[in-house]
């Protein structure tokens, strides 16, 4: 009968917002890692089991109080209850203890993030203790710890933690957490690069470059070897590749840099990444590559991201070349750009369109071309650019834009009477 009552009591469910991306290596170092976390609690943790003893009842209640306090942002209270919750780690039953370790880790760091009196020491204590309390999440916690140190400017300490983690081996666990190891290696190399870069900028400022070149060489070597290895794995490695290329540029190793960038951009095994082409383009531009090469890179970029701001450069490159085909392509590029709402009020883009159309008009046979291009857009372009509302807005904010746009109506949509122009007429009167 006592058991019956326990069964009838509702189960507790704990679900917090999730945003875990410790595994994602995209460019997110600016965000504070661990400030939001995914708590993938499986049912058994907060469920009141049939034969719950006094100890489990106490910790279950404690967890509920912690959760309430955290959800209502009462961090001081949460810290108090957390002190009483620590006894969960001594639970004799081995199975449940594993799950609770992750719980304790994540809750503790969250409380520390928000508590007014938390210090770096507290963080270090928590991370160190939880790291060594179990081997399933040693690597994960190491990574988070070093992120935290990095964000607080302690690069050396972060690097040290990562080196320790790198040399950790634990039989089967190492192989199952292979991806984590790769990440750790990657970030360690990144930290090496950061240290090298800082030293370089410090030294070059002091004009005493020869001193400590051995140390510099070391960092360079460590960083570059690992980075090269990391970049051979498919993935999104934007910050890493930038740092690697910077290092190679410094050493004036053009071939290597080009090879790496090309591979990053064109290798099919890598996921499609527009940034790769952007990096490649910027590098080529820095090193005065031919227009043909530049255009080729931008062509792929145009295919991937028609609304990219580099498209303006592409446009100017195309116009500069003499061929008609290129000019037609230029029109196409600009029209593609204007398909996107972000460029709607941009005077430069409209002017470019005006230029390109004027350019085309010098040749013959431009009407059919324009008509062909506009065919797919006839339905929705006027609504996007040429409504009365736009007219009013443009006349208030940017009258020049109004003029430019208006002048293009006859070219783009000759057979439609648009309110835009009507407004203009009324304005003129």
């Amino acid at each position: 009968m006592d058991d019956l009552e326990k069964e009838l009591n509702p189960r507790e469910d704990m679900e917090n917002d999730d945003d875990d991306d410790a595994d994602d290596s995209c460019d997110n170092s600016s965000r504070k890692e661990g400030s939001s976390f995914k708590l993938d609690l499986i049912q058994p943790i907060c469920q009141k089991t049939l034969h719950e003893n006094g100890f489990h009842q106490s910790v279950r209640l404690c967890l509920e109080y912690i959760r309430e306090a955290m959800l209502h942002h009462r961090w001081l209270e949460a810290a108090e209850y957390m002190a009483s919750y620590a006894q969960i780690l001594e639970d004799r039953v081995n199975l449940t203890a594993q799950q609770y370790k992750e719980l304790v880790w994540r809750i503790s760091t969250e409380i520390l993030h928000h508590h007014p009196k938390s210090t770096m020491d507290d963080y270090n204590v928590i991370y160190e203790r939880m790291k060594h309390s179990g081997f399933k999440h040693y690597l994960k916690i190491s990574l988070e710890h070093s992120f935290h140190l990095m964000l607080h400017g302690q690069i050396e300490a972060a690097k040290q933690k990562l080196s320790e983690a790198e040399s950790w081996r634990h039989g089967k666990e190492t192989t199952s957490q292979y991806q984590m190891t790769k990440l750790i290696q990657a970030y360690r190399s990144l930290l090496d690069y950061i240290i090298w870069y800082e030293k370089k900028s410090m030294l070059s400022g002091n004009d005493s470059f020869e001193s400590d070149s051995q140390g510099m060489q070391n960092y360079y070597r460590q960083a570059s070897i690992n980075l090269k290895e990391i970049l051979s794995n498919p993935g999104v490695w934007d910050p890493f590749i930038l740092s690697y290329v910077t290092m190679l540029e410094f050493k004036e190793d053009q071939e290597e840099a080009l090879e790496v960038l090309n591979k990053y951009a064109y290798d099919d095994s890598f996921p499609p990444n527009p940034n790769a082409h952007v990096f490649l383009y910027q590098y080529l531009k820095r090193h005065d590559a031919s227009q043909k090469k530049l255009k080729r890179v931008l062509k792929t970029l145009h295919f991937l991201v028609p609304s990219h701001e580099l498209m303006l450069e592409y446009f100017s490159l195309l116009l500069q070349s003499g061929s008609k085909k290129d000019h037609q392509k230029a029109v196409e590029v600009v029209l593609d750009m204007l398909d996107f709402a972000c460029w709607r009020s941009n005077l430069d883009v409209w002017k470019c369109l005006q230029n390109s159309i004027q350019n085309l008009q010098t040749g013959e046979d431009w009407k059919s071309f324009v008509e062909e291009k506009m065919a797919v857009r006839k339905e929705w372009w006027p609504a996007l650019h040429y409504t009365k509302f736009h007219a009013m807005k443009d006349s208030e904010e940017n009258p020049e834009l109004l003029k430019v746009k208006a002048s293009l109506i006859s070219a783009l949509c000759p057979d439609r009477t648009l309110k835009y122009s009507v407004e203009l007429e009324s304005c003129q009167e």
Partner: protein
């Protein structure tokens, strides 16, 4: 000078076979020829007032002091006895009369002896405990015979000492010495840590090393419930075949009279109700000594004093106020002014006061439960290789705790633990839960009629009183939806005060009602006994 004390004992010493006993300073017997100390102590022999109890003979085990590491071979029951002593001491510190300890002593000795006798086993089964001193030695556990305690057969026989049994023994000793602590009070003290239970093994002496299978016996991760502990005490009573207890008269604090007054004060109900409660107790035949005192023949079940008193109060409230979600509110509507002299008791006001206080107290109790620390400083290890990682876990937990204690600048564990047996505090002083309604009058509820005080409310409702088959589950959860809310609320109030489940209290209420509404044949017997008192009380109430 030792001769007188040791004269009665003429067993040969196990080590040197001489019969030459002396008394050491602590009162222990030792063999003068080989200085072997045995368990028998002087105190044991002095408890002559336990007549007819089991022969309180010695346990007859020897404790050899090994020089290697100062380890002591000790028996599990010794450990339990030690814990029992500590628990008794704790109660003495809280104010219990000292002779209670003697009772606890005797009870424990008889219990231990009987359990060891059963542990030795007389049947022909290949019982590994036939020679406890050889088995269960240093590798398995610190104590010498914990293996015996753990074989499934022994566990099923329910005859061996356990931590729960020590508490049950304490309870019996308290009842015997007629102390005011009820079972729910005892459990309350255990819960707030005043009586050692969960961490009791920490207080065992240094020589008793605890590890191995001891962990299963001495580790407590839950405090037993009221119901299970009562059952345990009941079983112990039968097992130990104790004689009749000293009588529980109207003067003793466990009797429904004084005990119900105590609960009335705690629940902030008017003192005038007490007279009615006593009347109901008489009607139920619970007022007389014989129904409250344990006797092997006439009263074989140990009464649950606390539940009984609460049930009597609830029945009285039902009688006077109806508690059918209708009558009681009407009556309170008719109440006059509620302040100053001659103030009337207003149920609605009482309910509001009580509800807020109850919510607050309930919340505090939950918070204290959440903060409670269950882990002892010196954990017991099952196996030697466990020691390393258990200590490591402990260190991690402790460091975490210290880190957060520093942050919150407050120690972990329940805050402001008080060992008062009253759950609420009523009056005008600071920190009180509300104004006291103890002196209010029941004028609106009872009135004079033919010179007799009678309640205005004339009817009485009750659930089906027919007792179910013995193995039937309690029906409270099924009936809960059909019962009036006021009644359920009152049940839950007293359940909070006593820290029991509502179903237990409901059962008790039903049993009181059964006694009150007993069939005529039984009632005649009851009436004869209480007749004189009825007339007496009716007359006094007519005059007042």
């Amino acid at each position: 000078m030792d001769e007188e004390e040791t004269a009665g004992y003429s067993e040969p010493c196990a080590q040197c076979a001489a019969v030459d006993w002396g008394l050491s300073e602590e009162g222990r017997f030792f063999c003068k020829s080989c200085h072997n100390v045995i368990e028998r102590t002087k105190e044991v022999m002095d408890l002559t007032f336990i007549q007819g109890a089991n022969r309180i003979s010695t346990l007859g085990r020897k404790s050899k002091t090994e020089t290697a590491g100062g380890r002591h071979t000790w028996m599990v029951c010794e450990g339990f006895q030690f814990i029992l002593m500590n628990q008794a001491d704790a109660l003495l510190r809280l104010g219990v009369h000292p002779h209670f300890k003697g009772d606890a002593d005797s009870d424990s000795d008889s219990a231990a002896e009987a359990s060891v006798a059963s542990a030795s086993g007389t049947d022909g089964e290949s019982n590994p405990c036939s020679s406890p001193s050889s088995k269960g030695g240093s590798d398995w556990s610190g104590s010498a015979d914990s293996l015996c305690y753990l074989t499934p057969r022994q566990r099923r026989s329910h005859r061996l000492l356990s931590l729960k049994k020590t508490l049950a023994l304490i309870h019996l000793a308290l009842v015997w010495s007629r102390e005011a602590l009820t079972l729910s009070d005892l459990l309350g003290l255990v819960n707030c840590g005043s009586v050692p239970y969960v961490k009791a093994h920490e207080q065992l002496p240094e020589q008793m090393k605890l590890f191995g299978k001891d962990a299963l016996l001495f580790n407590a991760e839950t405090v037993p419930s009221h119901r299970s502990l009562h059952k345990e005490a009941q079983d112990l009573l039968l097992f130990l075949q104790l004689p009749a207890f000293p009588p529980i008269s109207q003067q003793t604090l466990l009797h429904p009279g004084p005990l119900s007054l105590r609960y009335l004060i705690d629940a902030n109900l008017p003192g005038e109700l007490h007279r009615w409660v006593c009347r109901v107790a008489e009607l139920a035949g619970l007022f007389h000594e014989s129904s409250q005192t344990f006797h092997p023949e006439s009263q074989p079940t140990l009464p649950r004093y606390d539940l009984q008193a609460a049930a009597l109060i609830i029945v009285t409230m039902k009688l006077l106020f109806g508690l059918d979600d209708h009558t009681e509110w009407e009556l309170s509507n008719n109440a006059r002014s509620t302040d100053g002299e001659g103030a009337q008791f207003n149920l609605r006001r009482w309910y509001k006061l009580m509800q807020t206080a109850l919510n607050r107290a309930q919340q505090k109790r939950d918070q204290d439960t959440a903060r409670r620390q269950w882990r002892a400083k010196k954990p017991i290890f099952m196996r030697k290789k466990e020691k390393w990682w258990i200590m490591k876990k402990k260190r991690v937990a402790e460091q975490l705790q210290m880190c957060f204690e520093k942050l919150s600048s407050q120690p972990s564990g329940p805050k402001d633990v008080t060992t008062s047996s009253f759950k609420f505090c009523w009056g005008e002083q600071k920190g009180a839960d509300g104004p006291s309604l103890h002196h209010t009058l029941l004028d609106g509820v009872v009135g004079l009629k033919d010179d007799l005080l009678t309640p205005h409310h004339h009817s009485y409702w009750h659930s089906s009183l027919r007792p179910c088959k013995p193995r039937c589950q309690n029906h409270f959860t099924d009936l809960k939806n059909t019962l009036p809310n006021s009644f359920i609320w009152l049940l839950e109030l007293f359940c909070f005060i006593l820290d029991v489940k509502p179903s237990c209290l409901y059962e008790e209420v039903l049993s009181v009602e059964r006694r009150v509404f007993a069939p005529p044949t039984d009632r005649a017997r009851l009436r004869n006994r209480t007749e004189t008192r009825t007339r007496h009380s009716a007359q006094t109430s007519g005059e007042s």
